[in-house]
């Protein structure tokens, strides 16, 4: 029935420090169905009060409260999903707009820098060497890739 168990600690407010244990004793007696002592009018009154409090009548929620709340929650969830989809679409559009623009800007800057370097005294030679090395590395990688695709084995090691 009642879930009230546990130690009877006095409240922190000194004014009612003595009241709490007395009230709780009467409450537990009422809860356990014990009649108060015949000479204890206070306990009797308290028990009558507790009986009234346990029967306190309050206005009730409408019968369809749960159903209405569920419907409202579903509407709210759908709205949140729509907002999330809109946000994702907005980010995708922003990315589509800005990414090419950023790539174009980077390419322009690189072209300007390379052009400036080419026209310097030593820049032209450095660029030529860099371009040659890059082409050679790319050729080497490409040949390796072709060999691997055609199933050519690795060169035998000293162990084998």
């Amino acid at each position: 029935m009642s879930t009230h168990t546990g130690p009877d600690h006095a409240p922190s407010d000194d004014t009612h420090a003595m009241d709490w244990p007395r009230q709780e004793r009467a409450f537990r007696a009422w809860r356990d169905g014990e009649a108060p002592p015949s000479d204890d009018a206070d306990a009797r009154t308290l028990q009558q009060l507790y009986a009234a409090l346990a029967e306190e009548t309050l206005p009730a929620l409408p019968a369809d409260f749960a159903a209405n709340t569920v419907a409202a929650a579903e509407r709210a969830a759908r709205a949140r999903r729509s907002v999330a989809r809109f946000r994702r679409a907005l980010l995708a559009i922003a990315a589509l707009c800005y990414l090419p623009a950023m790539l174009a800007a980077a390419a322009t800057l690189a072209a300007d820098a390379l052009s400036a370097l080419w026209h310097q005294e030593t820049g032209g030679a450095a660029l030529s060497w860099t371009a040659t090395l890059t082409v050679l590395a790319a050729l080497s990688w490409g040949i390796d890739a072709l060999r691997t695709r055609n199933g050519e084995r690795d060169r035998p090691t000293l162990r084998s």
Partner: protein, 186 residues
Amino acid sequence: MSDDRELVQAVLAGRPGAFERLVREHQTLCWHIVLKLVRDPEEARDLCQDTFLRVHRSLHQYRFDSALRTWIGRVAYSIALRRLERKRLALDCDTEGEDSAYARIESGEDVQAEVAQAQLAALLRAQMRTLSPIQSMLITLYHLDELTIPEIAAMTDLPSGTIKSHLARARARLRERLAPHLGEPQ
């Protein structure tokens, strides 16, 4: 706790009827907390629904470190408290003098002979309205909803001593006001 876990997992998995079951199981406690604090039934109904909408939105954050009803009660309490703060209403302010039933008592009518259970209930309701929102809520949670002091403390973040003090004060006041109708001399 295993029932809580099962229910929460069902709601998160989107199983039909799971969230409605959660609402039905906890709507009474939520209603009591919110109604006692804001006192207006229409406003309390809206706030109660707001509570469950927030529960639905945040259920994935629930870590099972307390009972589900404690977690939901905490959400309800914080929502109601925020409404009170917005309206600049004090949580611990009582409402002396607003009770017509009490005025009737003070008019000297001899009501003792007429007191039936229904009348006592009506008088109790009237007297509960003169308590502060926090006292009224605590009385209902403790006596009607049968929550323990630790459960109430977990929901409201109030120290246990403070809760007991509020309860003791509220009970003493109710006892004093209702004593003539409880068949005891004052």
